[in-house]
């Protein structure tokens, strides 16, 4: 079985309080899949299991047919890149250094220098994400969008075929949200499997080939934006006060907050 596969995956931080319940999910190479769902629906936990950082309490998570939890640590890191929602920065690093740190799973000893392959991977990642011009800048002086591109470059330098990103567009302005999602789609089209968790239904609808809607740890629906983002389903999962319709420019779905719908729901 190629790509990422989660088969009947369940997880609970505390016994009797499942965060994920019998989740089925596939992401093939060449696909960008978005995981949606309200706060607490289990999106981040799902990504951590897919990254091999958490062991499911039941079921199995595999990459190319091999159990992610059973893969040796460095081998897994060479196959799977994971970008958490929050990356706390302790010291002042140059952009090039931040990207070079992504090569960690490929380095042999504590003091071994970068090989030609390491340097080539770093250069390619910088070129692919268009951060060459930022190379000598300090990472903590970058804008939010630039930082996110640099972190994606570091994930690219890591060299894996599976990309997992937790809320990659959070707190970015519209321009940078679009830039990040476009980059992720390009990476998928170039042959990587990309799975990102997001709260932004519109971005997911516009850029992901498939959406997976989670609700209280269960997969509510999987499919195209038109299949997943029905008005009834969005209202059921997120509550009332949301308008769902066709994108005014056509070719997709759009989701908007709707004060009128919220008022009708409050005073039927």
């Amino acid at each position: 079985m190629s790509g990422l596969a989660l088969s009947a995956v369940s997880f609970a931080y505390r016994a009797g309080d499942p965060v994920l319940d019998q989740v089925e999910l596939r992401v093939e190479q060449g696909e960008l899949v978005a995981v949606l769902g309200p706060n607490g629906s289990g999106k981040s936990t799902l990504l951590r299991i897919a990254a091999g950082l958490l062991d499911p309490t039941a079921g199995q998570a595999t990459w190319d047919g091999r159990s992610l939890q059973a893969l040796p640590r460095l081998q897994r890191a060479r196959a799977v890149a994971f970008l958490p929602q929050s990356v706390p920065v302790l010291y002042r690093h140059s952009v090039r250094d931040v990207i070079a740190l992504g090569r960690h799973p490929h380095l042999r000893g504590p003091f071994s220098p970068f090989s030609a392959a390491d340097r080539a991977a770093i250069a390619l990642a910088m070129e692919r994400t268009e951060v060459d011009a930022l190379a000598t800048r300090s990472f903590d002086e970058l804008s939010g969008g630039e930082r996110q591109r640099v972190l994606i470059a570091a994930a690219l330098a890591q060299g894996g075929r599976l990309f997992l990103l937790d809320e990659p567009t959070i707190s970015l302005d519209l321009h940078h949200q679009v830039a990040v999602m476009r980059l992720l789609r390009e990476l998928a089209l170039a042959g990587r499997a990309v799975l990102c968790a997001t709260h932004d239904l519109n971005l997911a609808a516009a850029y992901a080939q498939r959406l997976v809607m989670l609700d209280r740890g269960r997969v509510e629906c999987t499919g195209s934006a038109a299949e997943v983002l029905s008005a009834a389903r969005v209202a059921r999962v997120y509550g009332a006060g949301i308008w769902v319709g066709e994108h005014p420019q056509g070719g997709g779905m759009a989701v908007l907050p709707s004060p009128a719908a919220a008022a009708r729901s409050a005073h039927p």
């Binding site: 951590r48 990254a51 950082l53 640590r73 460095l74 897994r76 890191a77 060479r78 799977v80 890149a81 994971f82 970008l83 958490p84 929602q85 929050s86 990356v87 706390p88 920065v89 302790l90 010291y91 002042r92 690093h93 140059s94 250094d97 740190l101 992504g102 960690h104 799973p105 380095l107 504590p110 003091f111 300090s138 990472f139 903590d140 939010g144 969008g145 930082r147 996110q148 640099v150 972190l151 890591q158 937790d166 809320e167 990659p168 959070i170 707190s171 970015l172």
Partner: protein, 356 residues
């Protein structure tokens, strides 16, 4: 603020904690090595008694024991101890700043020194506890035992299945500092006043050793600990970006944290047991060095060791020169490190602010 967030709102984010690389790693290492060599070469000349060092060294090698040779025989182990102690404290400080994600972390933040001081005070206050095991006196032994108890308690409290809870580690460390601080005060309160002078002197920190024998346990504990920390340099670089990203890049987070905690504490305890708590070096040396090496621990750790060691050797040389008039006593080096080091470091900060 993006997904790449700063951990703002914590003391970790001082300007000092966010210094930027200004020199290449190898160049910084060469500079620190040169500084250490110069400090080691200059220090034997310094002291209240002037001696001809080359002549005294040659005579010492021939086995002669005139006054000059005796002075040099006392100074040399003291200089070596200064290098090891300053280096060890700076190394442990740099490690703890990353482990605890806190720019204010020092080798003493986790209570290792106050626990050690309490052990030393017990040995100094109770005559029955005054003994020696080979070259190691009971003061150092008790200091090490209590430092080890402190670290064991911290580990038990902060241990989680796949990592150390560094927030809890920090809180527990600070709490144990207060606890052992109170134990020290209680010991002082109950001790025969005639013994208080020795206790106070120990607490000020100093490098006075009677010979090479007293020194032996320090490198025996410190060097393996330092080597273990150096081997974790790349993993510490990853930990600086958070445990989750480090784990995703293949770092054994729990193992790295455990080694940082135990080896850093072992290095600190090795020093404190013999010198007492010498302050400042472990806090500021890593920050000062990081300005030149950047945050890469592969360069930062060895440079901090060399620079911290050189700084303490030089400060001790100055302390030997400054015999307090009327008391015939040297100025305790622990006082000097802070009095000289603080303005030096503030100057560095000011220069960085003025830089374009």
């Amino acid at each position: 603020m993006t997904a790449a967030t700063r951990s703002t709102g914590t003391a970790a984010q001082t300007t000092a904690g966010r210094s930027q690389r200004k020199t290449s790693g190898p160049l910084a290492l060469a500079g620190c090595l040169l500084l250490a060599v110069l400090a080691l070469a200059a220090a034997p000349w310094c002291g209240s008694e002037r001696i001809d060092v080359p002549a005294a060294a040659a005579a010492l090698l021939r086995g002669e024991t005139s006054t000059s040779e005796r002075i040099l025989a006392l100074r040399l182990p003291r200089i070596v101890l200064g290098m090891l102690a300053g280096g060890g404290l700076a190394l442990a400080g740099a490690t703890f700043q990353t482990l605890l994600r806190n720019a204010l972390a020092t080798p003493y933040t986790l209570g290792v020194s106050f626990a050690g001081a309490f052990g030393a005070f017990l040995a100094l206050s109770v005559p029955a506890l005054s003994f020696s095991l080979g070259p190691v006196g009971s003061v150092a032994l008790f200091a090490w035992v209590f430092s080890a108890l402190d670290v064991a308690a911290l580990y038990a409290l902060a241990r989680r299945p796949d990592h150390l809870d560094t927030h809890e580690l920090l809180l527990a460390g600070v709490t144990l500092n207060f606890f052992f601080g109170a134990c020290i005060l209680l010991t002082r309160f109950l001790t025969d006043p005639q013994r208080l002078r020795a206790m106070d002197h120990w607490m000020m920190g100093g490098l006075q050793v009677s010979g090479w024998g007293e020194l032996v346990p320090v490198p025996a504990l410190l060097l393996p600990g330092a080597a273990l920390l150096l081997l974790q340099a790349r993993a510490l670089n990853q930990l600086a970006f958070g445990e989750e990203l480090a784990a995703a890049r293949g770092v054994e987070v729990a193992r790295t944290q455990q080694i940082a905690l135990f080896a850093g504490s072992m290095v600190t305890a090795a020093v404190v047991g013999v010198t007492g708590p010498i302050g400042f070096v472990g806090l500021i040396a890593p920050h000062a060095v990081r300005r030149f090496t950047g945050p890469d621990h592969r360069w930062l750790l060895p440079c901090a060791f060399l620079a911290g060691g050189a700084f303490l050797v030089l400060m001790d040389a100055v302390a030997r020169e400054l015999t307090i008039a009327g008391r015939g006593a040297e100025l305790p080096v622990g006082i000097l490190t802070a009095m000289v080091g603080a303005p030096l470091f503030l100057g560095l900060l000011l220069r960085a602010r003025r830089a374009p």
